[in-house]
Subunit: 537 residues, 2 copies
Amino acid sequence: MTYWQFKMHKNSKKYFKWILVTGLLLIVLYYVTPWATSGVDIRMIHDDPMQKLHTRILGGLISDYPDIAYKIKEDAARRLAQNTCVCLAGEETFHLPFVKLLFPQVWAQNFLHEFLETHPNPEGIKQQRAQEYNNYQRRSYSPADVLIVAEANSPLQYPTQGLEVQPLKTILIPGLGLKEEARLNHIVSLRATMGTFDVVATVDKVSIKGEGEKHMTLSGPLLSALNRQLQFVSYTNTVFHPKTADSIEFATEGHQSFFIIKVGHRNAPRLYNSGYNGEYNISALVTIATKTFIRYDKLKDLIESIRQYYPTVTIVIADDNEHPQPVTGPHIEHYIMPFGKGWFAGRNLAVSQVTTKYVLWVDDDFVFSANTRLDKMVDILEKTTLDLVGGAVREVTGYTATYRHTISVENGGEEGDCLHIRLGYHHVIEGFPNCVVADAVINFFMARTDKVQQVGFDPRMSRQGHLEFFLDALGSLHIGSCSDIIVNHASKIHLPWSKSSSMKSYEKFRYSSTDVNNNLKNELFYFKNRLKCMTSQ
Amino acid sequence: MTYWQFKMHKNSKKYFKWILVTGLLLIVLYYVTPWATSGVDIRMIHDDPMQKLHTRILGGLISDYPDIAYKIKEDAARRLAQNTCVCLAGEETFHLPFVKLLFPQVWAQNFLHEFLETHPNPEGIKQQRAQEYNNYQRRSYSPADVLIVAEANSPLQYPTQGLEVQPLKTILIPGLGLKEEARLNHIVSLRATMGTFDVVATVDKVSIKGEGEKHMTLSGPLLSALNRQLQFVSYTNTVFHPKTADSIEFATEGHQSFFIIKVGHRNAPRLYNSGYNGEYNISALVTIATKTFIRYDKLKDLIESIRQYYPTVTIVIADDNEHPQPVTGPHIEHYIMPFGKGWFAGRNLAVSQVTTKYVLWVDDDFVFSANTRLDKMVDILEKTTLDLVGGAVREVTGYTATYRHTISVENGGEEGDCLHIRLGYHHVIEGFPNCVVADAVINFFMARTDKVQQVGFDPRMSRQGHLEFFLDALGSLHIGSCSDIIVNHASKIHLPWSKSSSMKSYEKFRYSSTDVNNNLKNELFYFKNRLKCMTSQ
């Protein structure tokens, strides 16, 4: 062998080794990397095949009885929700003094007139809203919301509620059974859309077909053996989705049953460490949040009054002044925003910065007093399912308001829904005699930080706004109101010539451009909340 | 009559009229004002009487078969979730080059050791976490999550899923029926906890007892008449709660069935008006959000690069510098925070100010290029159920990262859960070949503003943090990642002597106090997320 042949021989051995190793690595890679992973169609739902099947069956179960007469019961029938709704203003019936105080008038607003008719492109915006809403519905669709009716006299026993599996994980399905008379062969089948079935143990004398597949059949001559086998059936979710439900069909000859298995991660807790040691540590539990504009003098009074009672509570201040002034002091966090960015934007900002379990909202012209018992608010939030509790605001005259309202939204069909806001509350809270359950309260409240952050204050609301937050909170927050936790309102009684220039500035900014502001509110009611009209007190 | 007698007579008539009117008003007031409203107990759930009853019945339905043998099927049984979990670090198996690249190592962290054992009061904090979690569970309990099993061979037909009523409103209950052989008297009963039953129409030959009450019985000799009557049964929710479920029992002689009616407001849509006119108007649809600290030069480069492609898109900047510099320009919103308030606090602030349908998160050292196709991101968000889509970040070397991860949380019992984070994704998305579904992505993503605001960036995370957001998003956000939407990363390659003083400042601040930062992260994992340990890649 020449020198070159020898060298090449040595090199080729080395190359060969590396080619072999690389080849092996590539083979391992092929099996390890998930390019064999199936695709998933997450374009918005067109058809749910299981729902179609079930709708047909439902039609069969809910039969009609055309030859049996019935008589409508007016008062009961009237309570049923309709597919349309109206907003009627209240009529003034009595013309006695104090009537307006006792029976506050009901106002009505129709967004189809007030907003749509003055819009440059009413057809376009109508269509767009319908499109956005349609997409929203398709995106929120879940098989867990579909009506399912259990058939009578079915030999099938099955779970109708309560099954949950984490994405791509496995659970046992409890409660499956077949209860029929003895026969030559007993047979049941299971069908899923987003997962597969298997058995975690096998029982003699039962045949299983389709283990590990979307369609599994179990059969055998001995009913008790089949039922024992059914106790070992497992479901594995195979199509990933963070929050959905799989429709399961469980059937035997002549009978079908349907139930769903929720697929999703468990609701993760967001726990706050508040260092509870027998009494409430307000500084560790509560952050005070406010928004300020122009009224630095009032803000200063507020801070001083807070410090009298709560020297170390953190105060978060959102500030959208044109020429911001420094606001300093221990445990004070001052945030500067673009000039005039807005009221709800400021509220959303302040609340987004809170790191304690509870947040207390105050206006920058409040003044704390000995009755401003934050520990009482913490107490009711700790001991009940309330997420937010309002207090009372006392004017210089002594008049104290809790501003409790109830809110309901009636289904309105394509034109949009009807919003109804009324003064009042739902129930008194047992164990807390000065407190009630309502849907909206005054702008002095303490709430669970995580829940308020989830609802948020829509930054699209730039000027006035209050009940809009509670409309967004509807169905998410459990709201209460206690009349014995009181904060004072800095005096609003000023003779016109004694108003300071800053106060005049403030009022001009806040109360001007009413038309622009109303139009913005109406647009939000019409488009964002998909309302047709509202009545309020 | 004297003058005084006359005057008194006239006056007393007047007084008498006013006394009468006042008296009438008081009477009206008494009936109108809800002091007759019943109280509601919203202290946290102790017992659900319906659940106790059902648990007993469940025990009867899911019988045991002690004399039937079974054989465990190992591979299937192993997939079942256990009540405990462990975090095991991966072992280094191969010592070949590039192995670490192909098989990234799995790291494990145990919070019971790393956090609890170094805590000044481990027993106290353990107890507190258990207490907070316990309260959280009691507060989140809903009868809609309880396991219910449908009995086989029951003559009762009833709805098992899909019933919803708004608080204090009324619905018809569909699907109720009794299917049995003819007998002298057919009888069914309905029982509720938070509402009452009624009928909206009456049918001849059917007796009804308890109309308008929590317990209603219907009976009669003619089965078809009874079934026709059952089609007119209504339920009215009477105990207000914004989000709960009433447990309904529907029974006949010898048989009981259970189902729930969800009580709550419908999920209100939050629609955004984006002026869609055939093509995506990026300025109307998207707001770009970022947080900046020290690196004003890089921020300037970012803004200039954005303006090359998107001249009118709003850019929201959260800034917690010690000495903030002005950042101005059209469509730029600059927010000043307290010095060093933090990374996630800044992210939460920026996102809280967005008023468009989508928000694009960028780091302040990114640079837009012709590949930074925001319209592609909008497209996939418009057409699928994704809530968030990540892109790819290209380093100066050409290396492009998508940082896709999958996340799962294993149930761990009292000590807490186990968090597992792995590189990778779940599926390719049909119709979008460069896109996949995952649980976490890189810090360059576009998302639905309302969904991201609902999850939020926890302001308790002050320094480094990334995957923590995706842990909070688990189960809420549907997350995707596309590799063909690319943003450049400003060069990180600097020779030590050529680093600017601002860069040195930045690195010192961000990467210092690692211990303090890690301890904070560990506290959040241990307490807030209630974890025991985690494994990650």
